[in-house]
Amino acid sequence: MPVDATHYTSAGVQFVDPQVVARIGNLQLLARTVVDGFINGFHKAPYLGVSVDFAEHRGYMPGDDIRFIDWRVFARTDRFYMKQFDADTNTNFSVLLDVSRSMSFGSTGITKLDYARYLTGCLCYLSSKQHDRVGLMMFDDRIVEYVPASAKHLEIVLHKLDKVEAKRAGDLAPPMFQSTELFKRRSMLIVVSDFYEDPQTVVDAIRPLRYAGNDVAVFRVLDPAEINFPYEEASTFQDLETGRKLPVVPEKLREQYRQLVKEHTTSIEKLCGQNQIDYALFDTSMPLDHALFKYLAMRRKMRKTR
């Protein structure tokens, strides 16, 4: 569901400019600044305090944990019924972050990797505040770093985020395939990347994670220049990952480029939707808390559809 930033602005939320928070060197402090401000601005929102809400009863089955038998119902009906709740308050939350060289691009003073790091940090911090176990996997054409999900791993996650650099070319399929072995327990997985792959390839790479029972969301991070292609002078463009050079006349290609990007985005979004994978597009000029809104909106949707 697209989120309208102006809606939250009218609710009194102070959006945080990514370029401003980039000045905060400490990633934990940055995440806390963004998330706390975000929560304070949302203290009247209906999404908080939903973690242990009662959902329904079901009949007792042998092997069920007798701690969840509703004894009051048993007293009235003399039958065993089990209490079930809407959500697991201690779910695993992991972010799969693309650290390929294409993520080092930035035209607005902040690179896509920086934006993705801040976003990941904020999401992990927010999840940790909700007592979720947080984990991290960083990849390019293979898995670069892996931090298993744990309630105590927030510090490690933030540290790894702080130190990571974009060095090599990216390839989505191999690390995604490997990651299916790492996330055995159902988790909420956020894949953060620019997804410069064929849309079908992207979905094919991510789909196994979804089939493993994980809640998967795809956050696509792009620079405004990648979306609008504002270049004027005819220049030689160089691919950050392959090093390949290409003479380009921007004024000629601009419209075609925009159309191709739009089609690519639409195609990924469509395929993700078909595979029950949430999709969101972020450009690096978008405030970070705006991204958090998107995330929470997704969680609510996940809970309702579960």
Binding site: F237, L240, L246, P247, V249
Partner: protein, 695 residues
């Protein structure tokens, strides 16, 4: 149209530059890093709009600007301009009118005026003309004017002068006018009697190519035009009889005609009075000398003239002169107390000879020498004696300071104390002996008036004298050494004191210390030395017409007429008053007329005046002529190579360089190219802004 530097058209290859820049596939050097090129197609430049010319107007503008720039450097010019100008008939006409005194022969001058007036009358409305009057110099009226009336009036008012014919200055002046002219047809009309004597000055003069020089000879071909008798000059013989000076005038009369002249009356006049007339016969192309009887002169100069019967050329029939009384230089020789007269024997005898000037010599011993001895003296010679003392010395110093001359000759007794040497040009030393053959003069300043007489070959060898003894002199800074011995010591030293001169001679003036007195050069040497010390100048009996007289050099003559330090005015023979002091060249007087010039005080009417006689140059009396066409062909430049248009009149052929320089087309092309570049800048900027707005 043609081009002076057509090789510059290779520069048109630069026209391809804007096209090539526009069309060529050329990747920019700066690289833009981009996350992924998966959406960017590789499109070469040449496959897109760079291969397509988007704005033809801009391209044409650039190409035109470059083409104009190249054309400007190629220096274009139009060949047809001169032809076009010919069709208009414009001419630059220079009339050169000879006004030397030979043009006064018969009716030559009136015929010359008629010929010049006719040329002026034939001028077209677009023609420009200049009239140059010439004799030995050239005078130009209004330059390149179309006002025919003023030119005609100028010709009508002109009269022949007293100068000689020299074609050179006039032709050079005309050449300058032609070179400054931008008219295609250049014509000169030379109206003269074409005397041979004036041709030499025209060597090297050459009119611009295409100039036509039309000679108009005003001589009468049917008559003997060389028939002319003139007074060629006079000489004086002076003698003294009964204490009075008598002057005999000898006049030389020349017949330049081919026929003998008989019974020609030759008359001597003094102060406008006829004194004596002789009848003379002259052979063809010959001359004779007429000797008049001696005439006693008074104390003042008198104007004289020798006249002959008038012929067709009157100007050279009278010769004017000023007969001045002979001048005497008074010399006082002061000898030592022992042999004043004996020591001055050679000197006094030498000065006693001669009449130009005559020397009045008085000899005293040093003991008899006093202040009164200086009265009326112009030169004092201290000959081998000690210096005077006391009041006498003071008077001697005053005498020199006021313009007197002092000659100090060394000798055995010429012992001067340091206090007494203030007049001398240095300090005297003890005598130096030169045994054997003795010494000689090794350095002589032949540019000095004393020695200039000996400067020429076979004019006397002053170095032949032997000097066996002389006194060294330590020369002061203000003195000038005129001669040195062969050992380098000064022999003759000069020093100016006030208005006077002091000369020191390091040896004796007799034959005691040297043998100079026995040499032939002795007499002219002492004459020149005494004349120099007396500031003796020969008053010129006459001067040639055309001479520029520097009055500053005539101080002695002006002083005799009491005309120093006053404003002067010269009255010419025709009565014209010429303010000499306030003229363009103050102090200079140009003698342009024949006859007597009087120089007077401009502020008073006193009779005191300096009279100068001026006579024409007799080379003009030789009326032999040259072929006018010969002179014209030597002056005219290259012909037009047979190209004749507009009524068979030669057209001036400009060189390509001259055409290009006169037309200056490149300048306009350069301005136009610059304008196009400015327009190109404006258009391209506007197109760029429009393109950005569309994006």
């Amino acid at each position: 149209m043609a081009f002076l530097a057509p090789l510059f058209f290779f520069g048109l290859a630069t026209l391809a530059v804007p096209v090539i820049i526009h069309m060529i596939q050329r990747e920019r050097k700066e690289v833009v890093e981009f996350p992924s090129l998966m959406f960017l197609r590789k499109i070469p430049y040449h496959s897109f709009r760079r291969q397509r010319i988007r704005n033809w107007f801009l391209l044409l503008l650039r190409c035109a600007a470059i083409a104009l720039l190249v054309a400007a450097f190629a220096r274009p010019f139009f060949r047809v301009s001169s032809v076009a100008a010919v069709m208009l008939g414009a001419r630059e006409v220079v009339v050169l009118l000879d006004r030397s005194y030979s043009m006064g022969y018969g009716d030559r001058w009136s015929r010359a005026q008629d010929a010049a007036a006719e040329v002026i009358n034939e001028l077209g409305p677009e023609d420009r003309a200049t009239v140059i009057f010439f004799d030995s110099g050239a005078e130009v009226g209004p330059r390149s004017t179309t006002e025919r009336a003023s030119l005609a009036r100028l010709i009508a008012d002109a009269e022949p002068g007293a100068g000689t014919t020299r074609f050179g200055p006039a032709l050079e002046l005309a050449e300058g006018i032609f070179q400054d002219s931008d008219l295609p047809r250049l014509e000169a009309v030379l109206i003269s009697d074409f005397q041979r004597s004036g041709v030499e000055s025209a060597e090297g003069v050459r009119f611009p190519d295409g100039t036509v020089l039309t000679p108009v000879a005003v001589t009468d071909e049917t008559a003997d035009t060389t028939e002319n008798v003139s007074v060629a000059g006079v000489t004086f013989e002076r003698e003294y009889f009964s204490g009075r000076e008598r002057l005999s005038v000898l006049a030389r009369v020349t017949n330049r005609g081919n026929n003998p002249v008989t019974r020609l009356n030759v008359t001597l006049e003094f102060a406008d009075r006829e004194v004596e007339t002789f009848s003379a016969d002259l052979p063809p192309n010959g001359s004779t000398t007429v000797s008049f009887s001696p005439v006693t002169l008074g104390n003042a100069a008198v104007n004289g003239a020798v006249r002959i019967d008038g012929d067709r050329l009157l100007t050279d029939d009278t010769f004017y002169f000023v007969a001045s009384p002979g001048q005497v230089v008074n010399v006082l020789i002061v000898g030592n107390e022992r042999a004043a007269s004996a020591g001055a024997l050679y000197l006094s005898r030498a000065l006693g000879i001669g009449s130009s000037p005559a020397f009045d010599v008085v000899t005293h011993s040093i003991n008899d020498f006093n202040a009164s001895s200086l009265n009326g003296r112009q030169v004092v010679v201290l000959n081998d004696t000690r210096p005077p003392t006391g009041q006498t010395m003071a008077e001697l110093e005053r005498f020199v300071a006021e313009g007197g001359g002092l000659l100090v000759a060394a000798g055995e007794r010429s012992v001067w104390s340091p206090e007494a040497t203030t007049l001398l040009p240095g300090t005297l030393g003890s005598p130096i002996d030169r045994p054997g053959h003795g010494g000689s003069l090794a350095y002589v300043d032949y540019s000095h008036p004393v020695f200039e007489l000996f400067g020429g070959p076979r004019s006397g060898d002053v170095t032949s004298a032997r000097f066996f003894r002389y006194r060294p002199i330590e020369v002061v800074d203000s003195a000038t050494v005129l001669a040195r011995f062969d050992d380098g010591l000064p022999a003759l030293v000069e020093r100016s004191v006030g208005d006077g001169r002091v000369v020191f001679w390091a040896s004796t003036l007799d034959n005691f210390w040297n043998d100079l007195a026995l040499k032939p050069v002795y007499l002219p040497f002492v004459h020149r030395l005494a004349g120099y010390l007396a500031t003796y100048t020969v008053p010129p009996p006459w001067l040639p017409v055309g001479q520029v007289l520097n009055l500053a050099e005539q101080r002695s003559l002006l002083a005799k007429a009491s005309l120093t330090d006053v404003d002067l005015v010269a009255i010419s023979p025709s009565g014209t008053r010429i303010s000499v002091s306030q003229s363009e060249r103050a102090g200079f007087l140009t003698l342009t007329e024949q006859g007597f010039y009087e120089i007077r005080n401009a502020t008073t009417t006193e009779d005191s005046a300096l009279t100068l006689a001026a006579n024409v140059d007799l080379s003009e009396s030789d009326l032999s002529t040259i072929d006018p066409d010969e002179l014209a062909s030597s002056v005219m430049g290259r012909t037009t190579g047979g190209r004749e248009e507009a009524g068979n009149r030669p057209v001036r052929e400009f060189t390509n360089e001259v055409r290009e320089r006169r037309q200056g087309v490149w300048w306009y092309l350069l301005i136009l190219a610059f304008g196009l570049f400015v327009a190109e800048t404006a258009v391209s900027n506007r197109l760029s802004r429009t393109s950005l707005q569309v994006d």
